[in-house]
């Protein structure tokens, strides 16, 4: 393996170095070193930055900013981010969580990238040196993105407003059959006033369940109330087929698990 690692103090310098052919950014190593170990010869040099802002978490009254190098383990144990513990703990085993970063998870192809599903439901923005990009735009263009992700930011959801579920065949740790994250707000009468639902493994990258979101507005979170949303849950999906599950199976079980998430 002929790889060269170049470490830079600032993201700016690292961004400049990433312009050279064959270079990839090294976060926690769980994607890019794995690719190199598997014989991906397109990777010849690895770039990383040790800029401290990449590793910091800032939580204010209404907003959360997580540096791109923050690990899943750091999020899972952060006292102000307890609503994200389940989503961060859904990634890998303990050793992977000590390495895998928020920035890297945005690039993880299905069936990986469960945390990015949570970020999509939270309507996060993805920060680079060029500015902030809405996560949906970012995910759509991630294959050609060359700017180093420096942070993700999102508004704190209301208490109990965030829900997350990962389905895997092996317990407690297993690769996703699918994952679902939702941010729901309820009106005084219990009817859903706003809904954002994100799905993992139902396409090659995290996607919104927009039809289900729309079908949920004004409904109560009861078996009858959520029925239209469950019926619309598969709209626009094109799940992956892999050794974990077929596309057909993922589509079959999605409404079941979406129902469980909404009724919890």
């Amino acid at each position: 393996m002929a790889l060269a690692l170049h470490t830079f103090a600032t993201v700016k310098e690292a961004n400049a170095a990433l312009k050279s052919r064959g270079s990839r950014y090294l976060g926690g190593g769980t994607l890019v070193v794995r690719a190199a170990n598997e014989g991906d010869v397109s990777v010849s040099s690895l770039i990383r930055s040790t800029e401290p802002s990449l590793s910091s978490i800032a939580v204010t009254d209404s907003k959360v900013r997580i540096g791109a190098s923050v690990t899943m383990a750091a999020i899972a144990r952060h006292p102000d981010l307890s609503f994200l513990t389940k989503a961060a703990s859904a990634v890998g085993g303990p050793a992977v969580r000590n390495m895998a970063t928020v920035g890297g998870n945005l690039f993880a192809p299905a069936p990986y990238g469960d945390f990015a599903v949570a970020l999509l439901a939270l309507d996060a923005t993805v920060g680079t040196d060029d500015g902030e990009t809405p996560i949906e735009t970012f995910l759509a263009g991630r294959d050609t993105n060359r700017a180093i992700v420096t942070s993700v930011a999102f508004a704190l959801p209301k208490a109990d407003g965030f829900r997350f579920l990962k389905v895997s065949r092996v317990k407690p740790k297993g690769v996703s059959v699918l994952s679902i994250a939702a941010v729901l707000e309820l009106a005084g009468d219990g009817a859903v006033s706003s809904a954002r639902i994100a799905l993992g493994c139902m396409a090659d990258r995290p996607m919104r369940a927009k039809a289900a979101e729309k079908a949920l507005i004004g409904k109560s979170l009861t078996k009858d109330g959520i029925a239209p949303a469950l019926a619309a849950g598969n709209e626009g999906t094109s799940p992956i087929t892999d050794p974990i599950a077929s596309a057909w199976y993922r589509n079959e079980v999605l409404p079941v698990h979406l129902g469980r998430l909404l009724l919890t």
Binding site: M1, A2, L3, A4, L5, T7, L26, G28, G29, T30, V33, R34, A36, N37, E38, L46, R48, A73, G92, G93, P94, A95, V96, N98, M99, P172, K173
Partner: protein, 160 residues
């Protein structure tokens, strides 16, 4: 390709080595430094056989570049016994027949050690969770879970 220097503390002793840039810690430990206790299983971060403890955290040495460990304190299973006396976890693995082919054992012991360092009396669920990134194809896991629980009990009896 130019060699790069790496320096870290391995099992209490200082190590310095010149390696090729991009060398994984697993490769550096096994083939350069001669500590063959971390095993190369999948090289994908799936099996956990290469698990080591870096600065108190469980990491996968197959996905960690050695250069990023400059100045770090690294523990591997080969550093656990003291003066020929096995670590309580090693004893427990023997006593409960938690090892068959033995390939996963060093990684299992590292994962268990991190757990017991932070939580001397874990529940069974916590043990299962701590070992969830380590694959064993021989034992069916139950003896390994028992070994970790035994070691925890032995530790607390010694402390009492």
């Amino acid at each position: 390709m130019a060699k790069v220097p790496v320096q870290f503390t391995l099992n209490g002793s200082e190590k310095a080595e010149f390696i090729d840039s991009g060398t994984t810690l697993l490769h550096a430990l096994r083939d350069k430094i001669g500590d063959t206790s971390p095993k190369g299983g999948c090289h994908q971060g799936t099996c956990g056989a290469c698990s080591v403890i870096i600065d108190g955290e469980l990491r996968l040495s197959c996905l960690t570049l050695a250069e990023t460990c400059n100045g770090a304190v690294i523990t591997t299973t080969s550093g656990l016994s003291e003066g020929g006396v096995l670590h309580p976890l090693q004893h427990a693995f023997l006593d409960t027949f938690a090892t068959q082919c033995g390939f996963c054992t060093p990684g299992m012991i590292m994962a268990a050690k991190v757990l017991l360092d932070h939580k001397p009396n874990p529940s069974r669920d916590e043990v299962v969770e701590a070992l969830s990134g380590n694959i064993c194809r021989c034992t069916g896991y139950e003896p390994i879970i028992q070994a970790v629980l035994h070691a925890a009990r032995a530790n607390s009896q010694n402390a009492a």
